[in-house]
């Protein structure tokens, strides 16, 4: 599973992404977020702010209840400020 981080999340974690292999019971975004929060102190701090984080699964913005699969690309980012 490919994870990507953008903007302040990328800066806080000091990585722009990581390839992970979560356990079988991680079946939606919410459980993935909880699992990622356990990876390090930095991860924990970032994912405590989940309310100000948006999530995309395969380039579509989704809610925490969205199902995820092994080969998905999952991105975490703040609200967009382009244009």
């Amino acid at each position: 599973m490919k994870i990507l981080y953008f903007a302040w999340i990328r800066r806080s974690l000091e990585i722009s992404g990581e390839t992970i292999n979560p356990p079988k019971n991680i079946k939606n975004v919410k459980s993935l977020v909880n699992w990622l929060g356990l990876k390090s102190k930095k991860h924990k701090e970032v994912f405590l702010k989940i309310k100000s984080i948006r999530i995309a699964v395969n380039h579509e913005v989704v809610s925490l209840n969205n199902k995820i699969k092994q080969n998905d690309e999952i991105a975490f980012f703040p609200p967009f400020t382009g244009g």
């Binding site: 991105a75 980012f77 703040p78 967009f80 400020t81 382009g82 244009g83």
Partner: protein, 149 residues
Amino acid sequence: MIKIQKKNFNFSEENKKLLKNNSGAIVTFIGVVRGKTKTKKIQSINIECYLKMAEKKLEEVEMIANKKWKLNNCIIIHRYGKIKPGEKIVYIATSAEHRKNAFKSCEFIIDYLKTKAPFWKLEKINSKEMYVRLKKKDEKNLKKWENII
């Protein structure tokens, strides 16, 4: 046609492509880095981009606009990377037989990009970098297009 690129662009070259196809009206929008806000002077901005998703979203909005307003032509260019005050960030051009469709589609596309396309602005002010916050106004602007998207 959509383009996501680091380098600056020349809108006259882009504009030339629009004078075709029996279009009676061409509307363009150019978004520019401002040199200052109410309280601060901006040295430069750095736009971060989720490239694959941005390509998808730009193609999506182009398709929606083409279909809804029967455009003859649609060009969307969005830059990322370091951009200085006075430089262009985004260029949108729409052409249609009549002007109302060209105006509406162009305004729709920029409203859409502001809240749906994965770009993030980092401002440099007094040598400090800070991410720009989402403007409530931009979320509100998109509401008027609710029946379209």
